[in-house]
């Protein structure tokens, strides 16, 4: 137990948590934008997975940043596909989302096999690149806190910094820019923006594209930093955890950050615990983030229900 505590408060653990949080946070921000526009994006998982594979394959032939952009782009394209089916053809958005998830699960394995010449499990024989860590070791010259700063801040992925900036940028967009007002209005009561001449469906379509793009970016981080290379189903439910994190974060960007950090921390624990508790089965430990998600969501909706007092048809 003491060992566990010591691990958790170490700077190495902090770095691990930032690493595990980053893809989750990017996907959560994506989920947040779609959700606020009134179009629930259940395809985050699939978009992230496709983002992983696209980034890995492109990185074999191109510089890392092109690969990252390709990951982002692939997610955005899937967002556009979703918008087309759900908004233009009026298909049910949840079903469209699941269709994308299913196609992504199968399609990535197929594409992987094509790219590797037959390997259906991992991209181990592809020489893919990684996102370079941001080296801040020059901070070490600051007297006193220098070394601590370096151990906490140096070595994170570029995308971790991007994600942190995006929390602020999305907050600014949603609450300080006119388009954010449109987006929230469209999500809450579409008749009002429609009557004000705002193109409701265009707003939703853009939200889905951005949402998919952010999920794809999360995928790039996962496959080019957290792990280097692709493995089938490597997102392992992170897209769904992100959906939960949106609600848990009270549909606010800062809340999304906190919720993603919470889940990231538990994933981090699942990473360090097998080393500490050799006899606990690794599978059980890997379940922790999911159990926490369920508990957190149950707690959250229980509180929401209590606040919303059941009224009609029930005995008072």
């Amino acid at each position: 137990m003491i060992e566990l505590l010591a691990t958790v408060i170490s700077s190495a653990f902090f770095v691990t948590v930032i690493r595990t949080t980053t893809p989750l946070l990017l996907a959560t921000l994506g989920g947040l934008i779609a959700d606020l526009s009134g179009a629930l994006n259940v395809a985050l998982e699939g978009q992230m997975l496709v983002g992983c594979l696209t980034a890995v394959i492109v990185s074999v032939y191109a510089p890392w940043y092109v690969a990252v952009l390709a990951g982002l782009g692939s997610g955005a394209v899937l967002g556009l596909v979703m918008a087309f089916f759900a908004l233009r053809l009026k298909a049910d958005i949840i079903l469209v989302g699941f269709a994308i998830n299913i196609m992504a699960a199968g399609g990535t394995v197929f594409a992987l096999a094509m790219a590797t010449g037959g390997d259906k499990g991992t991209s181990i024989n592809l020489v893919s690149k990684a996102i370079p860590p941001v080296d801040l070791s020059f901070l070490g010259v600051i007297p006193g806190i220098g070394p601590v700063l370096v151990s906490l801040l140096s070595g994170h992925s570029v995308l971790s910094w991007v994600a942190a900036f995006l929390v602020f940028a999305i907050w600014y967009f949603l609450y300080r820019m006119p388009w954010g007002l449109w987006l929230r209005g469209v999500g809450e009561y579409p008749a009002a923006p429609a009557a004000a001449g705002i193109p409701v469906n265009a707003v939703r379509a853009w939200s889905l594209v951005v949402s998919g793009g952010l999920a794809g970016l999360g995928g790039a981080q996962l496959a080019m930093f957290n792990y280097v290379g692709f493995a089938r189903d490597m997102t392992a439910g992170r897209g769904f955890i992100a959906l939960g994190a949106v609600l848990l974060g009270a549909r606010h960007p800062v809340g999304a950050l906190l919720a993603a950090l919470l889940f990231g921390a538990f994933e981090g624990l699942a990473v360090v615990m097998p080393g500490l508790f050799a006899d606990a089965p690794a599978e059980l430990i890997r379940m922790i983030p999911f159990i926490v998600t369920i508990l957190a969501l149950v707690l959250f909706s229980y509180r929401a229900q209590r606040a919303r007092q059941m009224r009609t048809l029930s005995k008072s």
């Binding site: 300080r176 006119p178 004000a196 007092q309």
Partner: protein, 514 residues
């Protein structure tokens, strides 16, 4: 002078075959208040939606300043200087007043939303047009009268020259109507033009300069307000003479509903009804008088089961209602015509037939062995549509596509198809036309004569005075006066009690609280 806005032989048939407009003509001059009147389903809202670019006409032309125009969406109509306030508001509840006003046309500073400027502009507008409303609170927390001002400000902020108000007074209390008229006059004085739809003819005659009358999708004619009387206008609208008169109850029967020391509290714990004692007898209508929010609605909610009774008891024929669920209360004879037909009275997406049996799903006639008897449900719907002369395409039409008055008829038909013992009624004729008002009033008095005890709340004093056998006045959750209805009782007398300027003594009230 050439008319500012002209619609010539407009035709519109909805998918499903309802002919809503058929050769409609409208001609509005600059700087006038032009009223459009007609029965429910006459096609007034449809015509307005065409003027505002929400619906496309199948036939006809629109002329603005003498030039032909056609709007494919509201944005184009807004740009041409037309603004519209809908029968059902389109505001984002969690947004503040100023956010709602500027939504879609926000002032900017660089890439950001200039909140300071938005607030200042909204303040200036509400000053200029005498539409007082605080720009800061969330719209969802405001009373309807204020929400409506926000809607009007929204149109004015976009510089509407022509403002369409679709039944603006239907949701307002009498003093709010007066305030709205002050604003409308201020608008016209500053050169704006107003198109105004309403059902209450005295209001129409008071505010408008010219009136276009519609009936069953066609224009019947256009008249100057000074050339007509209420009676002649009513005849034009309905196509026959209408008289709004009801007979008083012959005799009051047994005590049906007894309310003792009743308290109702809001979710936040504030008392809405305080220590109320009231008896309602079979075969009488008791009118609940009061400015909205003084406890009448809370009393009806507590008795129907929509809100818990905090303290005290209410009996119906000796059964205490408190411990019963809404459905159990219905089973012993409580019927409810709620204030908000869309949110509380009907399921919008469901069909007319389904809505008409929605409260009777325990009834063997419609549900057998847990399965719906679709045939019985349909024939029930056909019979009720016939009996209540509802204007619909058929029993399968979705309720949300009915006109407001026809929606109300569906609620009334459902609640009165079975003779109730205790009938709760709130705003029965809000947004309902003359012919239907007459019909609904008749239905209520028929139910009364067949032995129902009726509690009636309405923002329309003339309705209360017309229907009630006794009236009680609410002020801040308490009864402050009670009257036996008579020709001598005037709205002015009631008004002074409603505003808390006068209070009766216990003894004075006792006479009418039998």
């Amino acid at each position: 002078m050439a008319p500012l806005l002209q619609a010539i032989s407009i035709g519109k048939t909805y998918p499903g075959g309802v002919v809503a407009n058929d050769g409609v003509n409208l001609s509005v001059s600059a700087g006038e208040v032009h009223a459009v009147v007609g029965e429910n389903g006459a096609g007034k809202s449809t015509l307005m939606k065409i003027l505002f670019g929400i619906e496309r006409p199948d036939a006809g032309t629109l002329l603005l300043d003498g030039k032909p125009v056609s709007f494919t969406n509201p944005r184009e109509a807004i740009e041409a200087g037309i603004g519209m306030v809908f029968q059902h508001f389109s505001l984002v509840p969690s947004f503040s007043v100023y956010e709602n006003v500027v939504l879609g046309a926000e002032p900017r500073n660089g890439i950001g939303f200039d909140r300071e400027k938005a607030i200042a502009e909204v303040r200036a507008l509400s000053e200029k047009f005498r539409l007082h409303v605080d720009p800061l609170p969330a719209v969802g927390s405001l009373p309807v009268g204020q929400q409506q001002r926000v809607e009007i400000l929204k149109a004015l902020y976009r510089d509407a020259r022509i403002l369409i108000l679709d039944e603006p007074t239907a949701v307002l209390a009498p003093q709010e109507v007066e305030e709205l008229f002050v604003a409308v006059r201020a608008l016209v004085a500053q050169g704006r033009t107003v198109i105004f739809i309403a059902h209450k003819l005295p209001e129409v005659l008071e505010i408008s300069d010219r009136i276009t009358v519609m009936r069953a999708g066609k224009t019947v004619g256009e008249v100057g307000s000074s050339e007509v009387t209420e009676q002649s206008l009513a005849t034009m609208m309905v196509g026959r003479d209408v008289a709004l008169r009801v007979d008083r109850a012959v005799t009051a029967g047994e005590l049906a509903c007894e309310i003792k020391a009743l308290w109702v509290r809001s979710d936040a714990g504030q008392p809405l009804v305080q220590d109320l004692n009231l008896h309602v007898h079979a075969g009488e209508i008791v009118g609940l008088v009061g400015v909205e929010g003084n406890g009448q609605a809370a009393l009806l909610d507590a008795i129907s089961g929509a809100q818990p009774i905090a303290q005290g008891v209410a009996y119906l024929n000796g059964t205490s209602l408190g411990p019963l669920s809404t459905l159990e209360r219905r089973a012993i004879g409580v019927a409810n015509i709620p204030e908000d037909r869309i949110a509380q009275g009907l399921a919008g997406g469901a069909s007319v037939a389904e809505n008409l049996v929605a409260t009777k799903l325990a009834d063997r006639r419609y549900v057998r062995l847990g399965l719906l008897d679709l045939k019985a449900i349909k024939s029930n719907a056909i019979a009720l549509i016939e009996r209540y002369s509802v204007r619909v395409g058929g029993p399968a039409q979705a309720v949300s596509t009915l006109s407001g008055g026809n929606m109300q008829k569906i609620v009334v038909a459902r609640e009165l198809s079975e003779q109730p013992k205790l009938l709760l009624v709130s705003q029965p004729t809000r947004g309902v036309d003359l012919g239907a008002t007459q019909f609904i009033w008749k239905s209520l008095t028929d139910a009364r004569d067949a032995g129902a005890a009726v509690l009636l709340s309405s923002a329309d004093l003339s309705e209360l005075l017309a229907l009630s056998d006794r009236l009680v006045v609410f002020y801040r959750g308490r009864l402050v006066a009670a009257f036996l209805n008579s020709a001598a009782l005037t709205p002015e007398t009631l008004g002074s009690y409603m505003l808390g300027l006068a209070t009766q003594t216990e003894d004075e009230m006792k006479v009418a609280l039998r």
